[in-house]
Symmetry: C2
Subunit: 131 residues, 2 copies
Amino acid sequence: VSATNEQIIGTIDRYVAAFCADDRDSYVALFSSDATVEDPVGSGVCTGPDEIGAFWDSVHGLASSIALERRGAPRIAAGEAAWNLRAVSDLGDVKVFVDIIDVMTFADDGRITSLRAFWDMGDMAPLPADS
Amino acid sequence: VSATNEQIIGTIDRYVAAFCADDRDSYVALFSSDATVEDPVGSGVCTGPDEIGAFWDSVHGLASSIALERRGAPRIAAGEAAWNLRAVSDLGDVKVFVDIIDVMTFADDGRITSLRAFWDMGDMAPLPADS
């Protein structure tokens, strides 16, 4: 038994919505109790709700808001998913964006059991003014 | 020490070229001797050049040719990569395509140590006639 495609897409959409609403509680609740977050890949691995909440806080200490936009249909296989997204961080005077590929695994109830985010600081760029 | 971004992009581009040239030897040579291939995620894991070559043969038994097209810049982090591609399979009377996200790890020499391909047969669709 694994999460259904509908559960997986629902979780991904709630993940995006939690960022856009600046909703820390909803973000942390998306993860199973022993979930791991490696965002970006190569940074430390956060495990469980306390560390994942602290990760949220550290990311939001850098930007007044971070909006996510899902791009294209998630690729779902055997209860895992990879999907494209754009993150736009508001730094006050300027907005910067980075395109990311997230890879996620899921529990039977649709919660995220692991997240690995493929992006690099060097890929960040100022958002064009007309975006 | 890990593969450089330049090595990784070079390997990805040779991976695409090997498919487009229908070049089995070049494809198999892209992988380290103990590399694993799970394509798509959830299917069996092939390990080493013999099994990876047999995987190539089984895939090419289904289509007279398979062309790959890289879409967008690979997301590279800590010597791993995730990247978007489109596979177009020529079935004779019809061409079908599927959009894929590949996740790869690499040896110091740039060869692939693991490949996990996120796609599902259900995502395949006939290629529009004008493509």
